[in-house]
């Protein structure tokens, strides 16, 4: 947003608002948003609890993630082990909490890589235009054709197995999606009147990009980023399920599911907790993304 709109939002002017027939603009209030959008509130609260569990796991988890209780292997939920134990007698709840760290780290890493590559690239090719845009768009199309997990598996096959390698590859697959959105937005914004005005006042290209283009073009990307966190989370779970992501004995939700599946006939209840953890977290990011979409663009109706 430009400076002028921000000031007008801070001090609503009833006269102009009435003249334009719009309700008087109000300053964005986080708490009012939370109150008016219960889904966003629940999702954000869930994510906050998850982040807390991930960070505080070493202090609040009932057991160490790799501590074995050899008298209680594949045990059902009990007062001692709230969610039971796995085939090595490790506490499922504790591993779930430690696994949430890897899940969030992986999602953040992949989306971060996607943003770092995709956003500048999209702005650059959209702003410069011409053959740069043409070439950049073809590169976007080419990378976009890769199924993200296939690319991630291929990169781990070359670079070596590990969560970080796999998620960098997923981020690389995300980059063209963000670049495409950012490019399209840049094309719209760069022809806007206020950008022309700034150019007229002698603003440099860098100033234009940082002060005007990026702040005004970034909104759809914020929505996309939130939705991508869910995709990245699912990718991490899947890759760890294939033992191409988080390596044992470190805990991950996908890896827990792989072990649970192995012993599904002995202890079927072990497959529920990690699965629901993945499902709820992906659902929370998706719901939050949709809520942000509605918040940023009031013309989009809910549902």
């Amino acid at each position: 947003m430009t400076d002028s709109t921000v000031t007008s939002m801070n001090t609503p002017n009833p006269a102009t608002a009435a003249a334009s027939g719009l309700p008087p603009p109000t300053r964005f209030s986080f708490w009012r948003w939370m109150w008016s959008d219960k889904r966003a509130m629940v999702s954000l609260a869930y994510i906050a609890v998850l982040v807390a569990a991930a960070v505080l796991a070493p202090f609040i988890a009932p057991y160490a993630p790799n501590q074995q209780d050899l008298m209680n292997m594949l045990a059902p939920p009990s007062t001692e082990h709230w969610l039971g134990t796995d085939d090595l007698g490790r506490d499922t709840l504790s591993r779930l909490m430690h696994g949430s760290y890897n899940a969030l780290y992986a999602a953040g890493l992949a989306v971060g890589i996607g943003v770092i590559i995709g956003v500048p690239m999209g702005v650059f090719i959209g702003f410069v235009g011409g053959w740069v845009d043409e070439a950049g768009s073809r590169i976007i199309d080419g990378v976009l054709a890769f199924p993200p997990i296939v690319l991630a598996v291929a990169v781990t096959g070359a670079l070596g197995i590990g969560l970080t390698n796999a998620m960098i590859a997923v981020g690389f697959a995300f980059a063209p999606v963000l670049a495409r959105t950012m490019r399209a937005q840049t094309l719209v914004v760069k022809n806007a009147l206020y950008v022309e005005a700034a150019t007229g006042f002698g603003a440099s290209r860098l100033h234009l990009i940082i002060r005007h283009i990026i702040p005004n073009a970034i909104q759809p990307v914020i929505v996309e980023i939130t939705l991508m966190l869910a995709v990245a989370l699912l990718a991490e779970a899947g890759l760890s399920f294939l033992s191409l992501g988080v390596q044992p004995p470190e805990s991950s939700w996908g890896g827990m599911l792989a072990r649970a599946y192995h012993y599904v006939e002995v202890a079927p209840e072990q497959m529920y907790a990690p699965g629901f953890a993945i499902l709820f977290t992906a659902l929370a990011f998706n719901t939050l993304g949709e809520s942000i979409r509605v918040l940023l663009d009031p013309t989009v109706k809910k549902n």
Binding site: P147, M271, L279, A282, L283
Partner: protein
Amino acid sequence: MNGIPGMIARRLIQLVPVMIVATFVVFSLVYLMPGDPAVTIAGDYATEERVEEIRRIYGFDRPMLVQYFAWLGNVAIGDLGRSLFSNESVLTLILARLPHTILLVVYALIVGALIGVPLGILAATRQGTTLDKVITSVASLGVAIPNFWLGIILVTMFSLNYRWFPATGATSFFEDPVKALYFATLPAIALSTGVVAVLARQVRSALLEVLGSQYIRTLRAKGLSSGAILWKHGLRNVAATMLTIAGLQVNRLFSSAVIVEAVFAIPGVGNLISYSALNKDFPVVQGVALVLVLVVILTNLLVDVLNSIFDPRVAATT
């Protein structure tokens, strides 16, 4: 050139740079390998001659672009190298497994359409009701549920508990199509959730748009029944939506298929690439990535062409 042939020609020309980028990404994977790639590719017990031979075949002593085009030349004649373990031709390995993966993906698309489209129609024709809200919520679950977890649940319920379906394995579609479909049913359902969700949403909004449009209102005013309007006019637009979504989803389906194949022990290319990545069989990994990205690009071309046949406006504008 105009019309559909012109559109196909333009698409094919646009495809060349996309193909170059995609193949270059696959090619450059070799540079990610730590150490001397020739030594890595040759495997642990390779002789010095074998390493030299690989260095010569891949041309690691030449400039990168020269290497790329040399590699591309080999790819063009179907030479994707040999597996480090079985020494089998990578292309042979892939071609033997690709039908399983394609069957799974196509089957998942069909299952997704069979569930997603009716859900979308129901939601649109009963807009605002509880049913509409339930369907919208189901769609949200569909994009958030891990496919492989659903696969595990399906195996536990329908294979281990009820023994209705086999838990794992696959049969060749060419030898016994019925049995192949029977084996692929649970995996296809597990894989289809994303398609169900996206189709239900898109069909709903596409239908709502059509049903709210001026010409439908005119038809209604002329006395055409709701059912006739829905079948004759509403669903024509749905066909185009389905095609576009199939094109967009094919990439995600191959992504998830890699993991779903592991759950059901399906001997497809997804299992091949993850097994080969675990065992550092680089030529196979590279070959599968190449074949899958080409399959995705060609599928999108096919979708574009079909779309322009169904809707001539598309051919005119692209």
